[in-house]
């Protein structure tokens, strides 16, 4: 039985259906009106609508707009990398690994510790690229271990139990890792060492910071590598087979346990990479770093179509751009003040909107695996 927010074919029947239909229309109307108001405001800042609704609107300059898009894309790439972990685990085991965001935090923390040690030794300045590679490798290893241990301790014994039970467990794992980091490393924000100038400078005609270019390039490359691994290697084939049907896969001689461990390992490695990129971009990390990006990355996985690799990246970029541009593009022209505080709200609203309008996500032509049950 498929239970999604998808409307049934035909006219709405119950009160809830009417309400949902109303919500969908209302959401689309807000977006449309906001967009039109924005465009009007860009054409003529003193138009009658703006005069009533948002008198001190200034509009966005081209450079501002470009900056928002770029930062949104860079952030979105990181969400995409994290989302891969959610998406793959969901594809194979059919539950949301709530603690995956904390694996990302562990990666950022590991990067912080190792890079500071490298900076003390003087290698960080003298050989930035080499040190970066080193901390990426260490962080990926640590995150892989974290994810694999997590699977072994908390999830494997629960395989086959009702679906909400591993989800609740993963909330516990998330809480545990977060607070373990708090008690071990303290509550203060930890800082990455200073990065070389070329990372901070703006490059090319688009005036993009080096760090953002780095983030986007690294994400896309690792995404491509992962795509190759999943689509063209034997291990990847096993993953897809287990995602399709674990029982049949086992009958075909695939070691299901090992495949699931691999899925966690790959997801963890990607989260570790994302953690380093986060550190390079924002240079500061706390024990709470993993929570919101984790949930947004999950939203990204859903928006892109859960279980779909390319979808994760696309979803991540959409969420990133939406939360960076959305408030200014849609909410501010509608007269909402202090819009930058509503970034997170926009990201969550996008998740809700997607689940209301198209629950299978952008690329989710195939229904998620667990609907078979």
């Amino acid at each position: 039985m498929i239970r999604t927010a998808a409307p049934r074919r035909g006219a709405p029947r119950t009160g809830v259906d009417w309400f949902l239909a109303f919500l969908r229309v209302a959401a689309l109307t807000v977006i449309a009106v906001g967009l039109m108001a924005f465009i009007w405001q860009e054409i003529d800042a003193d138009n009658p609508f703006a005069r009533v609704v948002n008198p001190d609107a200034t509009g966005l300059s081209g450079a501002q707009f470009r900056g928002l898009i770029v930062s949104g894309v860079a952030q979105g790439c990181m969400y995409g990398l994290i989302a891969l972990g959610y998406s793959m685990v969901y594809g194979v085991l059919g539950f949301i690994n709530f603690a995956h965001g904390e694996v990302f935090m562990v990666g950022a923390m590991t990067g912080m510790i190792t890079s500071n040690k490298l900076a003390d030794a003087g290698w960080w300045e003298s050989n930035f690229i080499g040190s970066l590679l080193l901390i990426v490798i260490i962080s990926m290893i640590v995150c892989t271990l974290t994810a694999v241990i997590m699977e072994r301790v908390a999830y494997r014994p629960l395989r086959g139990s009702p679906r909400l039970i591993p989800l609740i467990t993963s909330i516990g794992v998330s809480f545990f890792i977060q607070n373990a980091a708090l008690v071990l490393l303290g509550p203060t924000a930890k800082v990455y060492p200073d990065v070389p100038d070329w990372v901070k400078d703006k490059h090319t005609f688009l005036q993009i910071e080096g760090a953002r270019i780095l983030v986007v390039v690294v994400s896309l490359v690792s995404m491509a590598v992962l795509w190759y691994l999943v689509e063209h290697t034997k291990g990847g084939k096993a993953m897809r087979a287990v995602a399709e049907d674990a029982e049949i896969a086992a009958l075909m001689g695939i070691n299901v346990n090992r495949t699931i461990v691999r899925v966690f390992a790959v997801g963890g490695a990607m989260a570790g990479l994302a953690g380093i990129l986060w550190g390079i971009l924002f240079r500061s990390v706390t024990h709470l770093t993993g929570f919101l990006p984790g949930i947004k990355a999950f939203s990204a996985a859903v928006v892109g179509g859960i279980g779909h690799l390319g979808g994760s990246m696309a979803g991540g970029i959409s969420i990133g751009v939406a939360e960076s541009v959305g408030p200014l593009l849609i909410l501010e022209p509608l007269g909402v003040s202090g819009v930058s505080q509503l970034r997170d709200a926009v990201a969550f609203a996008m998740l809700i909107g997607v689940l209301l309008i198209r629950p299978s996500g952008i690329f989710g032509e195939r229904l998620p695996a667990e609907d078979r049950t």
Partner: protein, 644 residues
């Protein structure tokens, strides 16, 4: 049959029940418990103990490694240092050292698990278990030894905030490092041996030992509560002797208490269970009478007791009561209807804010300054509507999506209260302050300065909420909720309108949460967006799961134990030393509960049957097989066990 994951092992080995407040004889699932009993009483038919050195070395090593990790983590989390001031028994034992001895004990106990085949132990326990426990305990204790050596020789204070010479000194009991290495190997071995030895004593003796340890533990840990009670009930003359001046029990009194509780446990052995079974077996009018009597008794105690308690304890009770209200509300949503709502804090927030806006004169835009009780009506309506509004879009989603989306809603609502956009209504990050207390029919105002009155108010609402959930559980709607929880498709086929039924759960949960919110704002006198973090939702969820999803007594016990002892997200508990670690403990508890006891502390019978359906079926199948086997092989040359 591998290890402790198998249901039989888990069921037949309650082990030293170390959950606070957990009685070792809590009735589990009927089938599993029966089998466990059978396994325990079968001792005469066991094979002789295993040889001492025939250990499962791989298991010992892996358990030991886990122990080493746990020890190092515990030590570096600063727990020993922080808890060192909390003396349990003066002058020998502080909570800090107990936390470090706990790991080898558990490891030593767990490593000596019995080989079980088809739910029945194969060997009698013997020196084998103790030896395994010692080895495992030594390895785990070696974790602390290793750490003491590392602490002296390396400086990792950069990332690890608790890496300090003070810790090294504490671990070495103020002596040299070599002493620390030696003493922790020794202590680990002893604790491991004790853990292993727990396997040798028969269950009845074990119960007595556990009771003794728990009694001493509780009385020393709950010192501030006992002191407060003593002041009110005038038995300071006793507590002055029992407790040392700087906290902790005097050792001679610890011995007296242990002996006394052991004696009581020995004398009442089995009686408690008998009484409980007797009550459970009552039917009809006498059952109702007994229940009524028990409820009246509990109510009377709860009404009279606070009169003798100080401010601190009443405040604590009021906090516990607020969380009981919240947990009862979430219990309707999660426990009865099976909807995992991670944004439950939203209703708490809406309840608090609407009460604040309606009653406070300082509320920025809308300030009708209603009396609290009048405002409550509006609060309930508003929160119910919000429940409907949040519920309607999410209700058709699958369970796990729903969880994340409700979490999103919870965060959106907090962000809206925080935002500048709505700041001229809700005060933004400044919140709303100077909220007047709750005036009750001219009986005086209930506000935070009078925790006792707050507690009575909370108690009244708790009684109301308990009554509502109790009636609902047995109503048509309640049965529909449980049907939806168990199988939505079947429920729909039975003619239940699942969407409406689930929405009702949302609304009822929201309304119960709004009571708590309204009392909270009157009690604290101010509301800020930061009181309503997602964290609160998760803590309430832990309370519900720890207590037992769908079980009203469970939820109450869960709040009392967790919020009362460890403390809420912002509220201090009895063990204020634990405030840094309570969230860590909540996380670990959530994992552990899900792995070991998903039905909770005081399970609802129906719910645990659902969870263990498979195991019960499996057990009865196994038993049938065994019986058949026994019949077919009777008289043949078979191991004694098979002919049982």
């Amino acid at each position: 049959m591998t290890d402790s994951n198998s249901p039989e092992v888990a069921a037949s080995e309650p082990g030293p029940d170390l959950t606070p407040g957990g009685t070792p004889d809590t009735p589990g699932t009927p089938g599993v418990a029966d089998l466990a009993e059978a396994g325990e009483t079968d001792e005469t038919l066991l094979s002789p103990p295993r040889p001492v050195f025939a250990q499962n070395w791989k298991r010992i090593l892996s358990m030991g490694a886990v122990g080493v990790g746990a020890q190092i983590f515990l030590a570096l989390s600063n727990m020993p240092l922080r808890l060192d001031d909390r003396l349990l028994i003066k002058p020998i034992l502080s909570l800090g050292y107990v936390s470090l001895l706990f790991v080898p004990f558990i490891a030593g106990n767990r490593v000596g698990h019995q080989i079980q085949r088809e739910g029945i132990p194969m060997h009698a326990a013997g020196l084998h278990e103790i030896f395994g426990g010692v080895i495992c305990g030594v390895i785990a204790g070696g974790g602390v030894s290793l750490l003491s050596v590392l602490l002296v020789n390396f400086d990792l204070r950069e990332p690890l905030v608790n890496w300090s010479p003070m810790l090294a000194e504490l671990l070495a009991f103020g002596n040299s490092t070599a002493f620390a290495v030696f003493i922790w190997l020794l202590l680990g071995g002893l604790a491991g041996a004790a853990g292993g030895a727990m396997r040798l004593v028969n269950p009845k003796a074990r119960r007595v030992v556990v009771t003794m340890v728990l009694t001493v533990g509780f009385i020393s840990v709950l010192e501030s509560l006992v002191m407060d009670l003593a002041e009110g009930l005038r038995f300071e003359w006793l507590t002055e002797r029992v407790y040392a001046r700087r906290g902790g029990l005097n050792w001679n009194w610890a011995l007296i208490l242990a002996a006394f509780s052991g004696l009581v446990a020995m004398l009442t052995r089995g009686r408690v269970r008998q009484a409980r079974e007797h009550i459970a077996s009552l039917e009809g009018a006498s059952r109702a009478r007994t229940n009524f009597g028990l409820i009246i008794l509990t109510g009377a105690i709860l009404v009279i007791l606070p009169l003798f308690l100080g401010k601190f304890t009443n405040e604590l009770l009021a906090n516990v009561g607020l969380f009981v209200l919240l947990a009862l509300g979430l219990n309707v949503v999660v426990g009865l209807a099976g909807i995992l709502d991670l944004g439950y804090v939203a209703f708490f927030a809406v309840g608090s804010y609407s009460a604040a806006v309606l009653t406070a004169a300082t509320s920025p835009r809308i300030n009708p300054e209603m009396p609290w009780l009048v405002a409550l009506i509006f609060v309930v309506v508003i929160t119910g509507l919000v429940g409907l509004f949040i519920g309607a879009p999410v209700i058709r989603m699958r369970g796990d999506y729903l969880a994340i989306v409700t979490l999103g809603f919870g965060e959106i609502i907090r962000l809206l209260f925080l935002s500048d956009w709505l700041a001229d209504t809700f005060g933004g990050s400044q919140g709303i302050t100077m909220i007047p207390g709750a005036g009750i029919f001219g009986l005086g105002s209930v506000s935070g300065t009078e925790p006792r009155n707050v507690f009575y108010l909370v108690l009244a609402f708790c009684a109301l909420a308990i009554y509502i959930s109790w009636r609902l559980e047995r109503s048509r709607l309640g049965r529909a909720w449980m049907a939806v929880r168990e199988d939505e498709t079947v429920a729909e086929a039975m003619g239940i309108n699942t969407v409406n039924v689930k929405l009702m759960a949302f609304v009822v949960g929201a309304i119960l949460g709004s009571f708590s919110g309204a009392i909270f704002s009157a009690k604290v006198g101010s509301v800020f967006p930061n009181s309503f973090l997602i964290l609160v939702s998760i803590v309430i969820l832990v309370v519900v799961i720890f207590g037992g999803m769908g079980s009203i007594p469970g939820v109450i016990a869960g709040s009392a134990v967790l919020i009362g002892v460890l403390g809420g997200p912002r509220q201090p508990g009895l063990l204020s030393e634990f405030s840094e670690y309570k969230l860590l403990i909540y996380g670990a508890l959530l994992i552990w509960m899900m792995l070991a006891r998903p039905e909770g502390l005081i399970p609802s019978v129906r719910r645990s049957r659902e969870l263990h359906q498979q195991e019960i079926a499996q057990d009865s199948w196994l038993r049938e097989q065994l019986d058949e086997e026994a019949e077919s092989t009777a008289g043949n040359d078979q191991p004694a066990r098979a002919t049982a």
